[in-house]
Point group: C2
Chain length 223, copies 2
Protein backbone atom coordinates (compact mmCIF):
# COMPACT_ATOMS: atom_id res chain seq x y z
CA UNK A 1 0.00 0.00 0.00
CA UNK A 2 2.84 2.40 0.90
CA UNK A 3 6.33 2.39 -0.56
CA UNK A 4 8.03 3.65 2.55
CA UNK A 5 8.73 1.91 5.84
CA UNK A 6 7.31 3.10 9.17
CA UNK A 7 9.38 2.31 12.26
CA UNK A 8 9.11 3.07 15.96
CA UNK A 9 12.31 4.32 17.62
CA UNK A 10 12.96 4.09 21.33
CA UNK A 11 14.50 6.71 23.58
CA UNK A 12 18.19 6.13 23.99
CA UNK A 13 19.47 4.50 27.16
CA UNK A 14 22.98 5.70 26.41
CA UNK A 15 24.15 8.40 28.72
CA UNK A 16 26.59 10.25 26.52
CA UNK A 17 24.67 11.53 23.52
CA UNK A 18 27.54 13.76 22.36
CA UNK A 19 29.95 10.83 22.16
CA UNK A 20 27.35 8.73 20.39
CA UNK A 21 26.74 11.54 17.89
CA UNK A 22 30.47 11.73 17.11
CA UNK A 23 30.60 7.99 16.40
CA UNK A 24 27.61 8.23 14.07
CA UNK A 25 29.09 11.25 12.28
CA UNK A 26 32.32 9.32 11.64
CA UNK A 27 30.38 6.35 10.24
CA UNK A 28 28.46 8.64 7.90
CA UNK A 29 31.71 10.33 6.83
CA UNK A 30 33.26 6.94 6.05
CA UNK A 31 30.32 5.95 3.84
CA UNK A 32 30.22 9.47 2.28
CA UNK A 33 26.60 10.16 3.22
CA UNK A 34 25.93 13.77 4.19
CA UNK A 35 23.17 14.04 6.85
CA UNK A 36 21.31 17.34 7.27
CA UNK A 37 19.22 17.73 10.45
CA UNK A 38 16.29 19.99 9.53
CA UNK A 39 14.44 21.66 12.40
CA UNK A 40 11.61 24.20 12.77
CA UNK A 41 8.35 25.04 14.53
CA UNK A 42 5.25 23.11 13.49
CA UNK A 43 4.02 24.40 10.14
CA UNK A 44 7.11 26.40 9.15
CA UNK A 45 7.39 24.48 5.88
CA UNK A 46 9.90 21.65 6.36
CA UNK A 47 8.13 19.18 4.07
CA UNK A 48 7.41 21.73 1.34
CA UNK A 49 11.07 22.84 1.45
CA UNK A 50 12.20 19.23 1.09
CA UNK A 51 9.87 18.58 -1.87
CA UNK A 52 11.19 21.67 -3.66
CA UNK A 53 14.79 20.64 -2.83
CA UNK A 54 14.30 17.08 -4.07
CA UNK A 55 12.85 18.34 -7.36
CA UNK A 56 16.00 20.39 -7.96
CA UNK A 57 18.63 17.85 -6.86
CA UNK A 58 17.26 14.37 -7.56
CA UNK A 59 18.85 14.09 -11.01
CA UNK A 60 22.36 14.82 -9.73
CA UNK A 61 22.51 12.85 -6.47
CA UNK A 62 20.78 10.10 -4.46
CA UNK A 63 18.57 11.63 -1.78
CA UNK A 64 16.76 10.09 1.16
CA UNK A 65 14.50 11.60 3.82
CA UNK A 66 13.88 10.32 7.34
CA UNK A 67 10.63 11.82 8.59
CA UNK A 68 10.37 12.04 12.36
CA UNK A 69 6.83 12.40 13.56
CA UNK A 70 5.06 11.65 16.78
CA UNK A 71 2.43 9.51 15.19
CA UNK A 72 1.35 10.28 11.61
CA UNK A 73 3.03 9.40 8.33
CA UNK A 74 1.62 12.01 5.97
CA UNK A 75 5.06 13.54 5.42
CA UNK A 76 6.71 10.30 4.25
CA UNK A 77 3.91 9.83 1.73
CA UNK A 78 4.45 13.38 0.44
CA UNK A 79 8.22 12.92 0.14
CA UNK A 80 7.85 9.59 -1.67
CA UNK A 81 5.52 11.24 -4.16
CA UNK A 82 8.18 13.96 -4.70
CA UNK A 83 10.62 11.32 -5.89
CA UNK A 84 12.99 10.60 -2.98
CA UNK A 85 13.35 7.53 -0.80
CA UNK A 86 11.68 8.06 2.57
CA UNK A 87 11.31 6.36 5.90
CA UNK A 88 8.86 7.41 8.60
CA UNK A 89 10.15 7.37 12.17
CA UNK A 90 7.59 7.40 14.95
CA UNK A 91 9.04 8.86 18.12
CA UNK A 92 6.27 7.59 20.38
CA UNK A 93 5.49 11.02 21.79
CA UNK A 94 9.14 12.08 22.13
CA UNK A 95 9.74 15.74 21.37
CA UNK A 96 13.13 15.33 19.67
CA UNK A 97 15.58 12.84 18.18
CA UNK A 98 18.92 12.00 19.75
CA UNK A 99 21.90 10.35 18.05
CA UNK A 100 20.85 6.81 18.95
CA UNK A 101 17.29 7.30 17.67
CA UNK A 102 18.78 8.74 14.47
CA UNK A 103 21.04 5.72 14.14
CA UNK A 104 18.08 3.34 14.63
CA UNK A 105 16.31 5.13 11.79
CA UNK A 106 19.36 5.14 9.51
CA UNK A 107 19.96 1.43 10.08
CA UNK A 108 16.42 0.53 9.06
CA UNK A 109 16.57 2.96 6.15
CA UNK A 110 19.80 1.66 4.61
CA UNK A 111 21.77 4.74 3.55
CA UNK A 112 24.99 3.33 2.04
CA UNK A 113 24.06 4.37 -1.51
CA UNK A 114 22.75 7.83 -0.55
CA UNK A 115 24.73 11.06 -1.07
CA UNK A 116 22.37 13.25 0.94
CA UNK A 117 19.94 12.35 3.72
CA UNK A 118 17.63 14.84 5.39
CA UNK A 119 16.40 14.17 8.89
CA UNK A 120 13.12 16.06 9.25
CA UNK A 121 13.10 16.50 13.02
CA UNK A 122 10.00 16.89 15.23
CA UNK A 123 8.38 20.33 14.83
CA UNK A 124 9.68 22.06 17.95
CA UNK A 125 12.07 25.01 18.54
CA UNK A 126 13.14 23.90 22.01
CA UNK A 127 14.07 20.25 22.55
CA UNK A 128 15.64 19.26 19.19
CA UNK A 129 18.24 22.02 19.65
CA UNK A 130 19.55 20.28 22.78
CA UNK A 131 20.48 16.98 21.13
CA UNK A 132 23.27 16.42 18.63
CA UNK A 133 21.81 13.89 16.18
CA UNK A 134 25.15 13.03 14.59
CA UNK A 135 24.27 15.04 11.49
CA UNK A 136 26.88 16.65 9.24
CA UNK A 137 25.14 20.02 9.53
CA UNK A 138 22.12 21.56 11.26
CA UNK A 139 19.58 23.53 9.23
CA UNK A 140 16.46 25.26 10.44
CA UNK A 141 13.49 27.04 8.97
CA UNK A 142 11.86 30.11 10.47
CA UNK A 143 8.71 31.19 8.66
CA UNK A 144 7.77 34.86 8.32
CA UNK A 145 4.36 34.45 10.09
CA UNK A 146 6.15 33.32 13.28
CA UNK A 147 7.68 36.78 13.70
CA UNK A 148 11.16 38.27 13.59
CA UNK A 149 11.66 38.03 17.38
CA UNK A 150 12.07 34.25 17.47
CA UNK A 151 15.92 34.18 17.65
CA UNK A 152 15.60 36.27 20.81
CA UNK A 153 13.08 33.82 22.31
CA UNK A 154 14.61 30.49 21.23
CA UNK A 155 18.32 31.36 21.27
CA UNK A 156 19.73 27.83 21.51
CA UNK A 157 18.06 26.70 18.28
CA UNK A 158 19.55 29.60 16.33
CA UNK A 159 22.94 29.09 18.00
CA UNK A 160 23.32 25.47 16.85
CA UNK A 161 22.31 25.99 13.22
CA UNK A 162 24.71 26.26 10.31
CA UNK A 163 22.04 27.62 8.00
CA UNK A 164 18.68 29.32 8.60
CA UNK A 165 16.05 29.46 5.86
CA UNK A 166 13.55 32.29 6.32
CA UNK A 167 10.51 30.78 4.61
CA UNK A 168 7.14 32.05 3.34
CA UNK A 169 8.71 35.33 2.16
CA UNK A 170 5.72 35.70 -0.20
CA UNK A 171 3.72 36.67 2.92
CA UNK A 172 5.97 39.61 3.88
CA UNK A 173 3.34 41.90 2.37
CA UNK A 174 0.80 40.60 4.91
CA UNK A 175 3.16 40.38 7.90
CA UNK A 176 4.41 43.93 7.60
CA UNK A 177 5.96 43.93 11.09
CA UNK A 178 8.55 41.36 10.06
CA UNK A 179 11.93 43.02 9.51
CA UNK A 180 14.43 41.07 7.41
CA UNK A 181 17.25 43.24 8.75
CA UNK A 182 16.22 42.68 12.39
CA UNK A 183 16.04 38.92 12.06
CA UNK A 184 19.46 38.69 10.39
CA UNK A 185 20.95 40.94 13.06
CA UNK A 186 19.51 38.81 15.89
CA UNK A 187 20.66 35.55 14.30
CA UNK A 188 24.20 36.82 13.73
CA UNK A 189 24.40 38.15 17.28
CA UNK A 190 23.78 34.58 18.51
CA UNK A 191 25.69 32.84 15.76
CA UNK A 192 27.98 34.97 13.55
CA UNK A 193 28.70 32.06 11.18
CA UNK A 194 25.09 31.14 10.41
CA UNK A 195 24.13 31.51 6.77
CA UNK A 196 20.71 33.14 6.38
CA UNK A 197 18.73 32.60 3.16
CA UNK A 198 15.33 34.11 2.34
CA UNK A 199 13.06 31.71 0.44
CA UNK A 200 9.50 30.83 -0.50
CA UNK A 201 9.35 27.04 -0.58
CA UNK A 202 5.95 26.98 -2.25
CA UNK A 203 7.31 28.71 -5.37
CA UNK A 204 11.04 27.95 -5.09
CA UNK A 205 11.97 31.62 -4.90
CA UNK A 206 15.42 32.11 -3.35
CA UNK A 207 16.27 28.40 -3.62
CA UNK A 208 19.37 28.76 -5.82
CA UNK A 209 21.48 29.82 -2.82
CA UNK A 210 20.15 26.96 -0.64
CA UNK A 211 20.73 24.39 -3.37
CA UNK A 212 24.28 25.67 -3.92
CA UNK A 213 24.92 25.45 -0.18
CA UNK A 214 23.69 21.82 -0.17
CA UNK A 215 25.84 20.93 -3.19
CA UNK A 216 28.83 22.34 -1.33
CA UNK A 217 28.07 20.31 1.80
CA UNK A 218 27.72 17.07 -0.13
CA UNK A 219 30.98 17.72 -2.02
CA UNK A 220 32.86 18.62 1.20
CA UNK A 221 31.56 15.51 2.98
CA UNK A 222 33.01 13.25 0.28
CA UNK A 223 36.52 14.69 0.69
CA UNK B 1 13.21 49.79 35.68
CA UNK B 2 10.58 47.09 35.16
CA UNK B 3 7.30 46.74 37.02
CA UNK B 4 7.15 42.98 36.78
CA UNK B 5 9.16 40.35 38.60
CA UNK B 6 11.41 37.84 36.80
CA UNK B 7 11.92 34.50 38.53
CA UNK B 8 13.71 31.27 37.71
CA UNK B 9 11.74 28.08 38.31
CA UNK B 10 13.33 24.68 38.81
CA UNK B 11 12.24 21.38 37.37
CA UNK B 12 10.07 19.50 39.81
CA UNK B 13 11.57 16.65 41.82
CA UNK B 14 8.10 15.39 42.69
CA UNK B 15 7.24 12.15 40.97
CA UNK B 16 3.49 12.42 40.71
CA UNK B 17 2.72 15.50 38.63
CA UNK B 18 -0.96 14.58 38.25
CA UNK B 19 -1.49 14.45 42.02
CA UNK B 20 0.40 17.69 42.45
CA UNK B 21 -1.76 19.32 39.78
CA UNK B 22 -4.93 18.24 41.58
CA UNK B 23 -3.71 19.80 44.84
CA UNK B 24 -2.89 23.08 43.08
CA UNK B 25 -6.27 23.09 41.31
CA UNK B 26 -8.06 22.70 44.68
CA UNK B 27 -6.06 25.58 46.17
CA UNK B 28 -6.96 27.82 43.24
CA UNK B 29 -10.62 26.78 43.52
CA UNK B 30 -10.62 27.66 47.24
CA UNK B 31 -9.23 31.14 46.54
CA UNK B 32 -11.58 31.55 43.51
CA UNK B 33 -8.79 32.20 41.01
CA UNK B 34 -9.41 30.71 37.58
CA UNK B 35 -6.15 29.64 35.88
CA UNK B 36 -6.09 29.23 32.09
CA UNK B 37 -3.09 27.38 30.63
CA UNK B 38 -2.47 28.88 27.17
CA UNK B 39 -0.38 26.82 24.75
CA UNK B 40 0.69 27.12 21.08
CA UNK B 41 3.59 26.87 18.65
CA UNK B 42 6.14 29.70 18.65
CA UNK B 43 4.67 32.73 16.94
CA UNK B 44 1.01 31.63 16.88
CA UNK B 45 -0.03 34.80 18.70
CA UNK B 46 -0.31 34.02 22.43
CA UNK B 47 0.87 37.42 23.62
CA UNK B 48 -1.21 39.38 21.09
CA UNK B 49 -4.28 37.32 22.08
CA UNK B 50 -3.66 38.10 25.75
CA UNK B 51 -3.25 41.84 25.10
CA UNK B 52 -6.55 41.92 23.19
CA UNK B 53 -8.23 39.86 25.95
CA UNK B 54 -6.93 42.11 28.74
CA UNK B 55 -8.19 45.22 26.94
CA UNK B 56 -11.70 43.74 26.87
CA UNK B 57 -11.87 42.31 30.39
CA UNK B 58 -9.67 44.46 32.62
CA UNK B 59 -12.52 46.75 33.74
CA UNK B 60 -14.69 43.88 34.96
CA UNK B 61 -12.18 41.55 36.68
CA UNK B 62 -8.65 41.40 38.09
CA UNK B 63 -6.33 39.70 35.60
CA UNK B 64 -2.77 38.43 35.92
CA UNK B 65 -0.42 36.81 33.41
CA UNK B 66 2.46 34.44 34.14
CA UNK B 67 4.79 34.46 31.15
CA UNK B 68 6.88 31.32 30.77
CA UNK B 69 9.88 31.82 28.60
CA UNK B 70 13.20 30.12 28.28
CA UNK B 71 15.22 33.22 28.71
CA UNK B 72 13.76 36.54 27.53
CA UNK B 73 11.21 38.80 29.20
CA UNK B 74 9.79 40.73 26.27
CA UNK B 75 6.33 39.22 26.79
CA UNK B 76 5.99 40.33 30.41
CA UNK B 77 6.87 43.88 29.38
CA UNK B 78 4.20 43.77 26.64
CA UNK B 79 1.55 42.43 29.02
CA UNK B 80 2.35 45.03 31.68
CA UNK B 81 1.95 47.76 29.07
CA UNK B 82 -1.45 46.27 28.17
CA UNK B 83 -2.66 46.89 31.71
CA UNK B 84 -2.49 43.54 33.54
CA UNK B 85 -0.20 42.36 36.32
CA UNK B 86 2.53 40.12 34.96
CA UNK B 87 5.33 37.92 36.17
CA UNK B 88 8.05 36.45 33.96
CA UNK B 89 9.02 32.85 34.64
CA UNK B 90 12.32 31.65 33.23
CA UNK B 91 12.31 27.90 32.72
CA UNK B 92 16.08 27.60 32.32
CA UNK B 93 15.83 25.83 28.97
CA UNK B 94 12.90 23.59 29.99
CA UNK B 95 10.41 22.96 27.21
CA UNK B 96 7.25 22.96 29.36
CA UNK B 97 5.83 23.81 32.77
CA UNK B 98 4.64 21.18 35.23
CA UNK B 99 2.36 21.71 38.24
CA UNK B 100 5.17 22.38 40.69
CA UNK B 101 6.83 24.93 38.41
CA UNK B 102 3.44 26.60 37.99
CA UNK B 103 2.98 26.67 41.76
CA UNK B 104 6.45 28.25 42.22
CA UNK B 105 5.40 30.97 39.79
CA UNK B 106 2.00 31.53 41.42
CA UNK B 107 3.55 31.78 44.88
CA UNK B 108 5.96 34.50 43.80
CA UNK B 109 3.22 36.24 41.83
CA UNK B 110 0.66 36.43 44.64
CA UNK B 111 -2.70 35.62 43.08
CA UNK B 112 -5.18 35.82 45.98
CA UNK B 113 -6.86 38.96 44.65
CA UNK B 114 -6.97 37.81 41.01
CA UNK B 115 -10.11 36.46 39.31
CA UNK B 116 -8.35 35.23 36.19
CA UNK B 117 -4.74 34.22 35.65
CA UNK B 118 -3.30 33.17 32.30
CA UNK B 119 -0.27 30.94 32.18
CA UNK B 120 1.44 31.61 28.85
CA UNK B 121 3.24 28.30 28.42
CA UNK B 122 6.46 27.73 26.43
CA UNK B 123 5.84 27.88 22.65
CA UNK B 124 5.78 24.16 21.84
CA UNK B 125 3.06 21.79 20.61
CA UNK B 126 4.62 18.65 22.07
CA UNK B 127 5.88 18.76 25.65
CA UNK B 128 3.43 21.16 27.36
CA UNK B 129 0.55 18.84 26.37
CA UNK B 130 2.05 16.07 28.51
CA UNK B 131 2.01 17.94 31.82
CA UNK B 132 -1.07 18.95 33.79
CA UNK B 133 -0.17 22.38 35.19
CA UNK B 134 -3.02 22.44 37.70
CA UNK B 135 -4.94 24.93 35.56
CA UNK B 136 -8.73 25.22 35.58
CA UNK B 137 -8.86 24.83 31.80
CA UNK B 138 -6.47 24.34 28.89
CA UNK B 139 -6.61 26.66 25.91
CA UNK B 140 -4.51 26.58 22.77
CA UNK B 141 -3.94 28.71 19.70
CA UNK B 142 -3.37 27.33 16.23
CA UNK B 143 -2.55 30.01 13.66
CA UNK B 144 -3.70 29.73 10.05
CA UNK B 145 -0.15 29.89 8.59
CA UNK B 146 0.77 26.68 10.46
CA UNK B 147 -1.67 24.69 8.33
CA UNK B 148 -4.91 22.79 8.88
CA UNK B 149 -3.15 19.42 9.33
CA UNK B 150 -1.69 20.18 12.75
CA UNK B 151 -4.34 18.31 14.82
CA UNK B 152 -3.37 15.20 12.87
CA UNK B 153 0.33 15.73 13.60
CA UNK B 154 0.17 16.87 17.24
CA UNK B 155 -2.86 14.89 18.47
CA UNK B 156 -2.16 15.02 22.21
CA UNK B 157 -2.15 18.82 22.31
CA UNK B 158 -5.57 19.01 20.66
CA UNK B 159 -6.89 16.19 22.86
CA UNK B 160 -6.14 17.96 26.15
CA UNK B 161 -7.56 21.38 25.21
CA UNK B 162 -10.96 22.70 26.27
CA UNK B 163 -10.87 25.50 23.72
CA UNK B 164 -8.91 26.05 20.51
CA UNK B 165 -8.53 29.52 19.03
CA UNK B 166 -7.76 29.50 15.31
CA UNK B 167 -5.81 32.75 15.00
CA UNK B 168 -4.63 35.01 12.14
CA UNK B 169 -7.85 34.41 10.20
CA UNK B 170 -7.13 37.65 8.35
CA UNK B 171 -4.48 35.67 6.43
CA UNK B 172 -6.91 33.03 5.11
CA UNK B 173 -6.84 34.89 1.79
CA UNK B 174 -3.10 34.24 1.54
CA UNK B 175 -3.11 30.69 2.95
CA UNK B 176 -5.78 29.41 0.58
CA UNK B 177 -5.05 25.75 1.36
CA UNK B 178 -6.29 26.14 4.93
CA UNK B 179 -9.76 24.62 5.29
CA UNK B 180 -11.79 25.79 8.30
CA UNK B 181 -14.08 22.80 7.93
CA UNK B 182 -11.17 20.32 7.81
CA UNK B 183 -9.51 21.70 10.93
CA UNK B 184 -12.76 21.62 12.94
CA UNK B 185 -13.44 18.07 11.79
CA UNK B 186 -9.94 16.91 12.81
CA UNK B 187 -10.12 18.62 16.21
CA UNK B 188 -13.55 17.15 17.00
CA UNK B 189 -12.41 13.69 15.93
CA UNK B 190 -9.71 13.89 18.62
CA UNK B 191 -11.74 15.83 21.14
CA UNK B 192 -15.52 16.10 20.56
CA UNK B 193 -15.97 18.56 23.44
CA UNK B 194 -13.37 21.11 22.32
CA UNK B 195 -14.77 24.53 21.54
CA UNK B 196 -13.25 25.98 18.35
CA UNK B 197 -13.30 29.75 17.81
CA UNK B 198 -11.97 31.58 14.73
CA UNK B 199 -10.25 34.87 15.61
CA UNK B 200 -7.80 37.52 14.49
CA UNK B 201 -6.02 38.68 17.64
CA UNK B 202 -4.43 41.66 15.90
CA UNK B 203 -7.84 43.23 15.18
CA UNK B 204 -10.03 41.51 17.79
CA UNK B 205 -12.26 39.92 15.15
CA UNK B 206 -14.15 36.92 16.56
CA UNK B 207 -13.20 37.76 20.14
CA UNK B 208 -16.76 38.11 21.50
CA UNK B 209 -17.18 34.33 21.68
CA UNK B 210 -13.78 33.86 23.38
CA UNK B 211 -14.47 36.62 25.90
CA UNK B 212 -17.90 35.13 26.69
CA UNK B 213 -16.29 31.71 27.18
CA UNK B 214 -13.76 33.25 29.61
CA UNK B 215 -16.50 35.09 31.53
CA UNK B 216 -18.31 31.75 31.89
CA UNK B 217 -15.18 29.99 33.18
CA UNK B 218 -14.48 32.68 35.78
CA UNK B 219 -18.12 32.61 36.97
CA UNK B 220 -18.17 28.78 37.15
CA UNK B 221 -14.91 28.72 39.09
CA UNK B 222 -16.33 30.97 41.80
CA UNK B 223 -19.31 28.62 42.43
Amino acid sequence: MTDYKVIEVKESILEDNDADAEVLRKELKAQKTCLINLMSSPGAGKTTTLCQTIARLKDEMNIGVMEADIDSDVDAATITAAGARAIQIHTGGMCHLDADMTRQGLREFGTEDLDLVFLENVGNLVCPAEFDTGSSKNAMILSVPEGDDKPHKYPLMFSVCDVVLINKCDTLKVFEDFSKEAVVEQIHKLNPNAKVIFVTAKTGEGFDEWIDWLRGQVADWKN
